[in-house]
Symmetry: C2
């Protein structure tokens, strides 16, 4: 269903960013002339954090700007990386003496543009570094793995570390530890639709699902017959655990993420199935998040993310935040 | 698109409720043998609050069980009222010496079953009363107006009042004051699908929208050509304000609620348009909530709710909560 409530498809990102700032004036401010959201009250004497990418993943990324998480979020055109000039602008808006850490999802456009901006910032004497999130284990080669819903955990861990006074190097280090402990995979049942053309992002049969989806409307790495929640959760959980190092004392945080249009009814059935599967394998789930965290507009489907915790990561995960989605 | 991630359509509500409890063990507990969620830690010496209805409106109602809001939520079959026996069970599970207040949405089944349970509870010596939410101004006759997204504000106000030590009569009174100040109306662009039959809840043309929708998959009170966000928001806002008493000093809380599958991108465009419209009319918006608060599974569309505040309601609206959705 390609119908949308919009005014002008060409201005949708700008209007959305303005709407987010207007709806949350105590928390968010739009940077004039840019589709960048920053905190209304600028952070001081702590590492500043920036994330972002193409639009269409809401509440990512602007919904995660606020105390305990991000300092700025870039909203590029739909499913298209923001340009280096915008990233540099965001860096300058939120920089502190402690430096700036960029949280980049592993897509060639994002990596290129964010790194270019980091380099320019460094050239201008701004302390700036970055981490690259690649939690999507649907892709075999780790270097090509995309950043998907697990990115939200990285926002949370790095945001808590920055708040707790970690310096830039330490914040980067703990973010990278989190990244290496976060694995995700998802399925899609129905595509999303471009706000401009109204075209579906892929074609799919009535009894099929895409397995190993990305979050840019692209199809998965393979097509399978649509299965039950229990079978889907088992397949994904097994896939993820195969790629993880863990033992019987390991503790995990679990995220069940809707790609946009999957009702909470189905996500909670998936939560039951996944939690039972993990319990039957003797694994301990520290906590569980169920909802819309990283979407592809109105795509139907869901991803599972497992995040292996240690004591430091647990402490940081418990750090309070004030952002649009409870985490 | 009628595809769903499920196991057994006949057990979907039970599995969902179990999943919610398993994913939130510190906050929620399922009552054995019933699709009822109660707080893990029972409230003492304060009025207890119960809401609920048919399933399919998630995060309503189980997502609102927790400190600052509800004590119990009933999950009936999809779009079907829970029976009086279940409501009575919920009352007995959470009752305190201060009594129990039921928050009922104005649908004949809910009203009949909840009132019957309240009467039985009273017969057994339990202090029990109720309020009826009817915020949907799409229906002209106030007695027939349905309870839709504005119900969440009633949970919040009554929950805060109970926490603050209001007695049963006072909690009922402030909940009724809130109800008389809350008006909503919505549009639907695409139907939802029954988990059992897979059938769409209504048929709609490619360039049409249903105006004045309910939240049970029913069509709206009229069909119109699909319009822009600005035109939709203007029409609804005007409709709502026509039914409200207010003056230039009035302050409002605004809720932009997705019916399930409407991306945050579109909701935030609607937020911008609505906030601008209200500002241009000289009205003051105290705060604004944008998200999935009261849904019809994967229905595409959105509702707007205006809640006129006074000092008491503002204080209660600011009361902290610990529930699944930030409010």
């Amino acid at each position: 269903m390609n119908k949308k409530i919009l005014n002008n498809p060409e201005k949708v990102v700008e209007e959305m960013v303005e709407g987010m700032a207007m709806a949350n004036p105590n928390r968010l401010k739009k940077v004039n002339g840019f589709n960048i959201l920053i905190r209304s009250k600028k952070k001081q004497e702590r590492v500043a954090l920036i994330s972002g990418g193409g639009s269409g993943h809401e509440p990512a990324h602007g919904g995660y700007v606020g105390p305990g998480m991000l300092d700025a979020a870039l909203a590029g055109p739909v499913f298209t990386s923001p340009n280096p000039r915008s990233v540099l602008k965001a860096i300058k808006e939120v920089k502190t003496n402690e430096g700036v850490l960029l949280i980049i999802k592993n897509y060639s456009g994002d990596v290129m543009n964010f790194k270019m901006a980091a380099q320019k910032a460094q050239d201008e004497g701004i302390k700036c570094d970055y981490v690259i999130v690649n939690d999507d284990i649907a892709i075999n080669n780790p270097e090509d793995r995309r950043g998907i819903a697990g990115t939200i955990f990285v926002h949370k861990i790095a945001g808590a570390a920055a708040d707790a006074g970690y310096n830039l190097e330490e914040t980067k280090e703990v973010a990278n530890k989190a990244i290496s402990n976060i694995k995700s995979k998802g399925v899609a049942l129905a595509p999303c639709y471009s706000p401009g053309s109204g075209r579906p992002s892929f074609e799919i049969g009535e009894n099929e699902m895409e397995v190993g989806l990305g979050i840019h409307g692209e199809p998965g790495v393979e097509v399978q017959e649509l299965k039950s929640s229990r079978e889907i959760c088992k397949m994904i959980t097994n896939n993820i655990l195969e790629k993880m190092e863990y033992d019987k004392n390991s503790q995990f945080s679990l995220m069940i993420n809707s790609l946009g249009a999957t009702p909470l009814m189905e996500l909670n059935v998936m939560a039951k199935d996944t939690l039972e599967l993990l319990k039957n394998r003797g694994l301990t789930i520290y906590n569980c998040y169920v909802g819309n965290f990283m979407t592809s507009m109105e795509m139907k489907g869901a991803s599972l993310t497992l995040f292996k915790l240690d004591e430091e990561l647990k402490t940081l995960l418990n750090h309070p935040v004030d952002v649009s989605i409870k985490l």
